[in-house]
């Protein structure tokens, strides 16, 4: 038994989404009142009901959300929270206390992973060990919200309003990571990966040791860029290119190949809008006009590190 499982946090998140939807529905001034209210309401139901919801129903709800987003029925109210003067005055009053709740979240992450995940009474575990990081951050967020309300002496409704404002600034991009995870699953069900691995293996002169290494690292990066997820690319490209050529044909070290191969996949993650939770959602969170600005800032980093990975792997994999 787990006392704090993700299900608890899903319900809290669902409740918050429901409040967001209800407040939009009651706001006659909202530019896209009904579209936005339905969008956030549907997401609330997905969070609340979760696995009790038949997959087909959830699928059609997702379809409805996509249609609302694509027809521009989901929008936020522009503007910053509160007047600049009020914020400055409040910053002057609260000084460094303002950082306490913000720092509580990483602090809880540390405490959660190192301590709380080990607390148990017999079979009763305090936290779900499979999701320690996510649970710890969620717990941290709730504790931080409570401390934040205490320090600022604000009413809880302020937190809901401000959270709603930030959420609407992110907008429909919020569900993009979940959509992409679903697309990745459909790709692998349809067998897209092996086709790519086969194409690369046949098109390149992999009998040359350096080409085998380069094909594997590039394959990891490119397939990760298509899938948005290095974990999805790893089995496909490693079984298709890495093991047959780098390890079996040229007798490379499998540990070196796999470790650096995965990191080559991460280089791909830096360079693709498909990795929405790392690249697109942050762009919206940081008010960037160009939602690809984070990807653009990361392309030079990704390319340099990919070259470094190919070099490191080539120098080490056949030697150790």
């Amino acid at each position: 038994m787990k006392l704090i499982s993700l299900d608890v946090f899903y319900v809290v998140a669902g409740l918050f989404l429901l409040l967001v939807a209800a407040r939009i529905a009651l706001d006659a001034q909202h530019p896209k009142r009904w579209g936005s209210a339905v969008f956030w309401g549907l997401l609330a139901i997905v969070f609340f009901a979760g696995k009790q919801l038949p997959a087909l129903v959830a699928g059609y709800m997702v379809l409805a959300m996509v249609v609302l987003a694509a027809t521009k029925q989901v929008a936020g109210v522009p503007g910053a929270g509160g007047a600049a003067g009020d914020r400055a005055k409040s910053a002057e009053r609260l000084r460094n206390w303002l950082f306490a709740p913000a720092l509580l979240i990483p602090a809880m992450a540390v405490v959660g992973t190192l301590l709380l995940s080990r607390v148990h009474w017999g079979d009763w575990w305090l936290m779900d060990s499979a999701n320690v990081t996510v649970s710890a951050v969620c717990l941290g967020a709730l504790v931080a919200a409570a401390v934040g309300l205490k320090i600022t002496r604000a009413a809880p409704v302020t937190a809901v309003n401000e959270g709603s404002r930030l959420l609407q600034a992110i907008g429909w991009a919020l569900i993009l990571p979940q959509m992409l995870a679903a697309l990745g699953a459909i790709f692998s069900k349809a067998g897209v990966g092996p086709v790519i691995a086969e194409l690369a293996a046949h098109a390149l002169p992999t009998q040359i040791p350096f080409v085998a290494v380069a094909a594997y690292c590039l394959g990891m990066a490119i397939f990760t860029m298509c899938m948005g997820n290095a974990f999805a690319a790893f089995p496909v490209i490693t079984l298709g290119i890495g093991l047959p050529f780098v390890v079996q044909l040229h007798h490379g070290n499998p540990a070196i190949m796999a470790a650096i191969g995965m990191l080559s996949g991460y280089c791909g993650t830096l360079m693709t809008p498909m990795a929405a939770n790392f690249n697109i959602v942050p762009a919206m969170l940081l008010d960037l006009k160009d939602k690809n600005a984070v990807v653009k800032a990361q392309v030079p980093i990704g390319l340099t590190l990919l070259a470094a990975n190919i070099l490191i792997m080539y120098l080490c994999v056949y030697r150790f």
């Binding site: 979240i105 679903a182 690249n279």
Partner: protein, 240 residues
């Protein structure tokens, strides 16, 4: 070959700037149809994986209320006030230090970062405040300009803050204490009869982790140089 049509749909859809959600859904539907699934089967898959992957969105949902609350009460303003006392602070240095902290902590298995909880409320405002100061100091003595950081440059600083988070997160993970990725690697290789030790996998993540830090040194120095250049431009453009 026909199975790759989904990737083509994504590439074309992104290039033509259609709504991203629509592009993703269309790619899934077309790929599924090509593979012989019915429309309802595809909707079922979307529903199943959308629900299963709720945890990706969960942290954002729970963090935005507290971040919004603190921002309304002047968190960003306070971060700026604090950074303006540190005379040696530059946007590049703030981001480089953050990357280092992130790489080291996650190498020990502790994930203290994240875009909603660290970058938006703390790292990005601090880097931006440092940039604003660098800019102001470079511009003010000469010109009558306000010394305001141009919006474009501010956005560049924020985009680089997101990059510092991602690089620190991705290229520390596979070292010292193996987590997630290393276990996946071990599992996949084991399935193919290749037994590799966790320590070997962790060890071979270190060269790339060092390379990643060096790349961030280069990128953050470049960012500081860009701020200096822009300040210089602003100074020479002002007529007075």
């Amino acid at each position: 070959m026909i199975k790759l049509i989904g990737i083509l749909v994504v590439a074309v859809g992104f290039a033509l700037r259609f709504n991203t959600l629509l592009v993703v859904m269309a790619a899934g539907i077309i790929t599924g149809m090509v593979a012989g699934m019915s429309f309802n089967e595809i909707m079922e898959l979307f529903g199943k994986y959308f629900v299963e992957n709720r945890y990706v969105t969960l942290t954002v949902l729970l963090i935005v209320p507290v971040v919004g609350l603190l921002e309304r009460h002047g968190l960003r303003e306070r971060a700026e006030a604090l950074i303006s006392k540190a005379k040696a602070a530059t946007a590049g240095r703030v981001l480089l230090i953050y990357t280092a902290i992130r790489q080291i902590s996650i190498a020990f298995g502790v994930n203290i970062g994240g875009h909603p909880q660290m970058v938006r409320p703390l790292v990005a405002p601090m880097a931006e405040a440092a940039a604003r100061q660098q800019f102001k100091r470079a511009v003010l003595p000469a010109a009558a300009s306000s010394g305001e950081l141009p919006d474009k440059l501010a956005e560049e600083v924020r985009a680089n803050a997101a990059a510092a988070e991602n690089v620190g997160n991705f290229f520390g993970e596979d070292t010292v204490f193996a987590v997630g990725a290393v276990l996946l690697i071990q599992g996949v290789l084991k399935g193919q009869g290749q037994d590799v030790g966790l320590w070997a996998l962790s060890l071979w993540g270190i060269p790339t982790a060092l390379a990643a830090f060096c790349v961030m040194v280069w990128r953050t120095q470049r960012l500081d140089r860009r701020i200096r250049e822009q300040a210089h431009l602003a100074k020479t453009e002002e007529p007075q």
